[in-house]
Every structure is written in structure tokens, then in C-alpha cells.
């Protein structure tokens, strides 16, 4: 009888080429995604005179620096144009498939991978981006790496890793209307901390996960890194298989049936043990927003920001003072009294169809009190949203409907929040200066961003959903 194993154990074991005596394993990489930011690694290959080892397993997407406005044929900023051009040149040189500017499949790499069926259950996927954890939503083992490791993967299609510990997040119950995957994951990070899962591979399990859509699962796994996790995973099931069938790079016909047979075995055995177990009840989770400068600074929308004088822990008090000063919020202020200057709906966290529909359901027939930008997760999502008429709802509400890219999540392409401005954002990081130097970010779900837009301040979307369906 074999030792009971977790989903993570099974996928890890299937990729071990060598395990050294000191416990590191050399793992085979099934998919390697690269983007404009991967230029350091290509430079390294050039210095060593090496070629990409497995170009057919490497896919490139232009996302981090691409412009989201105008014709997009070329970026107007020469430095940004150079970043996109360098990626094009490196892909041509190494025979790597590129979804570049102008390609109908272009989008944010973590949206495009699943959407095109390049991301599959049981694969090991790496990318020089921390939000690579997203792809675990399909039952892949996916994690972010740095430039040196990107170069190593390009040269060998392998990576050295020590096996992380295993952590299970079990979600019971069903979320109330108006409560989204983003709220669940913010509630989780508020509870365990921004380093609560450091050194661990998370498996999201339980009834609330089984009933969660693929888009919702992608949001959860995307934010696993914000809890410090090496990766987040969801066991593949019918939802996964239905999502994948017919996608361009997914197996077809008999090969798909054979794959589903294999994928169906990718689940945690009944008696398998985890190093850590955390339980949450989705039915008790309410809409969450962040107030500070770490994703762990998240609270239910009906709460008040902390008051540094109410703690005796001087380190904590000092952190609270510093975060509140940066955010420009008085201690103890009601979250719903915090006025905003703009909104952003986009990013690899929350710019898929379900996200845009949820925001549009709140915005329909209403007008935003602040300016804002909507950047769909991919060019394909953009087309589908336009087919459904969502672009008209966003525009009628006064928001800008833009093209797809990382955009205002990291501000690399010039889409930034001005210093001192406050942005309600569907993104993943409320770090100081993340959306632009001096920018103040409040993270929340797409529906909550829409609620903040029509209210002009942070607001509980549940009060705006009466009589509407999401």
C-alpha cells in the first residue's frame, strides 16, 4: 500500500528528475512563460552563447509594459517601445511563440495561459513573475522565479527546488451574494498574515472551492503569493475539464479523453496529511477591503481602520502609524467614510469575464463619481466583453475602456495613480508606490470597486445589489 499523498505531492513527484542527498530536486518544467521583464535572462543566454533548450514549451506574452490606450501599434514612450521590441527580438532569435502587441491572443500572461489551454492540470509551470501561482487553479504546480532561474530554465528546461511544506485551506459553506473569491482570499491573508504561508504549497479545498468557478479559483490561487505561499492549487474536477475542452492548446479528441483520465487522479488521497490545516467558513465572509500597505491589512467593509493608541505592542503601533500616515487616513476612521479619487479594474487577479460581469452588474444604469480605467485581462476577454455589451456599461458609467495589459497594477506602462491619489483597485498589491510613487491603493473585488466608484467612497456592494443579479 502506497503512502497517501496530496495533490501537490503527486504533481511534484511526476516532475522529479534527480533528488540530491541534501533534499533538493531537479524538476522538469512543462511550460515556461516569459514576458518583457525576462530580458535579464535572455542577456545571460547571450553572454553564455546558449540557445533555448525547449522553445516549443516556452511561450512569450507582451503584458508588463504594453500600452493600454490608443492604437497600440507602437508604444509612444521610446523606453517602453524598446522593452516590447527586445522581447520580440529575443523570441525570434530563440524560436519562441510570442503573443505580442497586436496578436488577438495577447493579454496578461496569467490570463492567457489558462485561456489558451497552455496551462493544464498536472503540469509544472514557471514564469519570472510572482503571480505565476495563478495557474494552480487548474491543478498545475506553478510558481514564480527570478531572472537567474529563468535563464536556467531556458537553458535546461529544468529547475532546482526544495520541496515546500504542505498547507490546506479548507473552505466550508457558500459565500453570500456580493462576496467574491477576492473577499475570501483577503479574509484568509488578514487571518494568517502576508507571510502566513511562506515555505508552503497551498491546496484550496472544501465545498466552497468545488462550487467556485474557474475565474474565482484563478483569483484565489493568484493571491496565494500574497500570503507568502510558494504556490496555490485546486484539484482538477468537472469544472476544470469543461473549462479546458476545445481551448487552442489543450489536447484534442482522444488525447483529451486520455488526459482527463489522468487528471481525474490528481487529487489528495483521503488519509494524506498536511503540515498545516486552516479552516474558513465562506458563508461567514463579508466583503473585504485593505486599508494599509500590505495585503494583510484587510478588514470587513463595515469595520474601522486600526488606532495605533489601542495597542500596547510598540512595533505594531509604529507599523500602524506609518501605514496610516502613508495612506492619509485618520486612526479609527470608518472604512465606508474613506473617499476615493479613482478606480481601476484590471490585472491578473481580477480582469476575467466573471470579474467584468460582476463590476458591470453594479455599474449598469449608474454613473461613477470618480474617473477610472478598465483594462480587460486579455484581448480575448476584451472581445467577449464587447460582444456582451459590457464595454458600453463601463463607458456609460464614465470609465475608460482600455486594451489589455498589466496596466495600473504595477504602472510599468505609464498607467499610474498620481502621488497622494486614492485608488479602489481590483489588483493584488497595496504596497507603497505600487500603482505610482505616492499612490494609495485599496484592494477589493471588482464588484466592490464598482460600488466605490458609484459611491465616491469605499462602500458595501451588498447594499447596491438589491434587485440586481450578479
Amino acid at each position: 500500500m502506497n503512502e497517501p499523498r496530496t495533490l501537490f505531492d503527486k504533481v511534484w513527484a511526476a516532475h522529479e528528475i534527480v533528488r540530491s542527498e541534501d533534499g533538493e530536486a531537479l524538476l522538469w518544467v512543462d511550460r515556461h512563460y516569459v514576458h518583457e521583464g525576462s530580458f535579464h535572462a535572455f542577456t545571460r543566454l547571450g553572454e553564455r552563447g546558449e540557445a533555448a533548450a525547449e522553445p516549443s514549451l516556452t511561450f512569450a506574452v507582451a503584458d508588463h509594459y504594453v500600452p493600454t490606450g490608443g492604437s497600440r501599434a507602437s508604444a509612444s514612450n521610446p523606453e517602453i517601445a524598446r522593452m516590447v521590441r527586445t522581447l520580440e527580438e529575443n523570441c525570434a532569435k530563440h524560436h519562441i511563440t510570442l503573443f505580442g502587441l497586436g496578436d488577438p491572443r495577447q493579454g496578461i500572461v496569467h490570463v492567457v495561459g489558462p485561456e489558451q489551454g497552455m496551462t493544464l492540470p498536472g503540469l509544472l509551470i514557471v514564469c519570472g513573475d510572482s503571480h505565476t501561482s495563478t495557474h494552480g487553479a487548474l491543478g498545475a504546480l506553478a510558481f514564480g522565479i527570478g531572472a537567474s532561474e529563468v535563464a536556467h530554465v531556458l537553458m535546461t528546461q529544468t529547475i532546482w527546488q526544495r520541496k515546500p511544506k504542505r498547507m490546506r485551506i479548507s473552505l466550508a459553506g457558500r459565500p453570500e451574494p456580493g462576496v467574491a473569491a477576492k473577499d475570501i482570499v483577503l479574509a484568509l491573508i488578514a487571518r494568517i498574515g502576508a507571510d502566513g504561508a511562506t515555505g508552503h504549497a497551498i491546496e484550496f479545498a472544501g465545498p466552497a472551492i468545488r462550487s467556485l468557478s474557474m475565474d474565482g479559483r484563478l483569483t484565489l490561487c493568484n493571491m496565494a503569493i500574497e500570503a507568502g505561499a510558494r504556490c496555490g492549487m485546486v484539484a482538477p474536477d468537472e469544472t476544470t475539464f469543461r473549462y479546458l475542452e476545445g481551448r487552442p492548446y489543450a489536447p484534442r479528441g482522444a488525447a483529451f479523453a486520455r488526459a482527463v483520465e489522468d487528471w481525474s487522479r490528481l487529487k489528495t488521497d483521503d488519509d494524506a496529511s498536511f503540515d498545516r490545516d486552516v479552516q474558513l467558513d465562506a458563508s461567514e465572509i463579508v466583503p473585504f477591503v485593505t486599508w494599509g500597505t500590505s495585503p494583510e491589512d484587510a478588514l470587513p467593509i463595515d469595520g474601522c481602520v486600526p488606532d495605533p493608541t489601542s495597542t500596547t505592542d510598540e512595533t505594531r503601533a509604529s507599523y500602524l502609524r506609518s501605514a496610516l500616515e502613508y495612506m492619509g487616513i485618520a486612526p479609527g476612521k470608518r472604512l465606508t467614510e474613506i473617499a476615493i479619487d479613482r478606480v481601476f479594474i484590471g490585472s491578473c487577479t481580477n480582469a476575467r469575464m466573471e470579474d467584468l460581469r460582476a463590476a458591470a452588474a453594479v455599474l449598469a444604469g449608474r454613473v461613477s463619481k470618480v474617473p477610472g480605467l478598465v483594462s480587460p485581462g486579455s484581448s480575448q476577454v476584451k472581445r467577449q466583453a464587447e460582444d456582451e455589451g459590457l464595454d458600453r456599461i463601463f463607458r456609460a458609467a464614465g470609465l475608460e475602456w482600455a486594451s489589455s495589459g498589466c496596466s495600473m497594477c504595477a504602472g510599468m506602462n505609464g498607467d499610474v495613480v498620481a502621488a497622494g491619489e486614492r485608488c479602489a483597485s481590483t489588483t493584488n498589491r497595496n504596497f507603497r508606490g505600487r500603482q505610482g510613487r505616492g499612490a494609495r491603493t485599496h484592494l477589493m473585488s471588482p464588484a466592490m470597486v464598482a460600488a466605490a466608484a458609484v459611491s465616491g467612497h469605499l462602500a458595501d456592494v451588498r447594499l447596491l445589489l438589491a434587485g440586481r443579479t450578479q
Binding site: 521583464g37 542577456t43 488577438p104 513573475d129 527570478g146 537567474s148 492548446y249 480575448q380 472581445r383 510599468m412
Partner: protein, 212 residues
């Protein structure tokens, strides 16, 4: 890669939890090649004001700590973005070792690739070390990787580090050399795996929908 054996230097305390890689090097400097030298952008927006002038009260700007080769930080140091430029900025500034209660996983992996030692100590040990440095900023600190010790004044702490990373730093080994020595195992794995998981090979995708 530069080896790390022992280091005696001044150590700069930066008492900020969750000091993420967006702080270590802001995004607008990520377009630059490594050859530009990224040290001047280390912690740029915390070290410098909006006009680009140094804030004299920021620890790394204080005369006693400008030449520090060791940083002592708060928990979850360098969490967030995978940008290896965060390591480049530290190394180019002259930092060879960071001591904290915990590191972001991706950063710790990037650090070892560049000869930067990530030494993990307990929360209270980091706090004691920071307090000692606050009281005596020029206190020399000696980090011995073989012994896994940090000595300052009369105190000696033990730190932890992944044993494989320790060996790589001590010897200056690069991953690629070790990997190349496993070439035949990689080829055998690839052949076996193609038969076992045929669906893992991406098919030639149909032409995309031409709509822009």
C-alpha cells in the same frame, strides 16, 4: 559566482516588516540593464524624497551605516514581486548579507544566485541585534557561514539557512554547472515522460481568431 565564507562589517538596521521588493527597487528602474549599476536605486523612494534628495534620517543614509555590508531587517523581508533586480540593487550597493526573521521565498532563491547570504534568526534575536546597533552604530558584526554564526560585541547568534544554499554560497557554485552534470538523467526523463504524459506536449494550435 562570488563565494561567501566570512564577513566582518558594519550592519544597518531597517526595522520595517514586509519590506517588499517594490520598495527595494521601485518599478520604474526595472527597465535598466544590470550594467547600469542598480545600487543607487536601492530603497530609492524610502531613502530619497520626491525631489530625489536623500532623507538624512533614513538608516542607510546615516554616516555610520553608509558603508554597511550587512542589513538587519524585519519579518517577511523582500516579499512580493519576483524581480531579481531587488537582489542586484542590494549587491550593487555593497550589501553581502541580510539578517531577518523571515524572507520572501522567491527573493531568497534569487539571493543565492548572486552570492547574497540570507541569514534567518528568531524575531527576538533580530530585535536584540537591532537594539545593539541602535546603541552602537559602528559595532562590527562578523558573519561566519561555515559555522552559521553572527558575532557582535560579546554576543554570538546562530542563524539558519537552507543547507544546499549554504554549500552553494560557500563554494560559489552555479546551478547550471550542477545541472549539466545530470544531462543523461534529464534526457532519460524526457523520453520516459513523453510516453507517460503525452498530453503534456502542446499541440500545434489552430490559427487564432483574426479579430484584433
Amino acid at each position: 559566482m562570488q563565494k561567501f565564507t566570512t564577513l566582518t562589517a558594519t550592519a544597518c538596521p531597517i526595522e520595517i516588516a514586509n519590506l517588499n521588493t517594490d520598495q527595494l527597487i521601485p518599478v520604474r528602474f526595472l527597465k535598466l540593464p544590470r550594467s547600469a549599476g542598480l545600487g543607487k536605486f536601492l530603497l530609492h523612494d524610502l531613502r530619497c524624497d520626491a525631489q530625489g534628495h536623500e532623507r538624512p534620517d533614513f538608516p542607510l543614509n546615516r554616516p555610520a551605516w553608509r558603508e554597511a555590508r550587512i542589513l538587519v531587517g524585519g519579518r517577511n523581508f523582500a516579499c512580493g514581486s519576483s524581480r531579481e533586480a531587488a537582489v542586484y540593487a542590494l549587491v550593487d550597493w555593497g550589501i553581502r548579507c541580510v539578517i531577518t526573521p523571515s524572507f520572501g521565498d522567491i527573493f531568497a532563491g534569487n539571493a543565492v544566485q548572486n552570492g547574497l547570504l540570507t541569514a534567518v534568526v528568531r524575531d527576538e534575536e533580530a530585535a536584540v541585534l537591532m537594539a545593539a546597533l541602535g546603541a552602537e552604530p559602528s559595532l562590527p558584526v562578523t558573519v561566519d557561514l561555515a559555522a552559521q554564526t553572527i558575532a557582535s560585541g560579546r554576543d554570538t547568534l546562530r542563524f539558519s539557512i537552507d543547507p544546499v544554499r549554504r554549500l552553494r554560497l560557500l563554494n560559489g557554485w552555479e546551478d547550471i554547472d550542477l545541472t549539466r552534470s545530470h544531462g543523461s538523467e534529464i534526457a532519460a526523463f524526457k523520453a520516459m515522460d513523453r510516453a507517460r504524459r503525452p498530453w503534456a506536449i502542446p499541440p500545434n494550435a489552430p490559427a487564432p481568431d483574426p479579430r484584433p
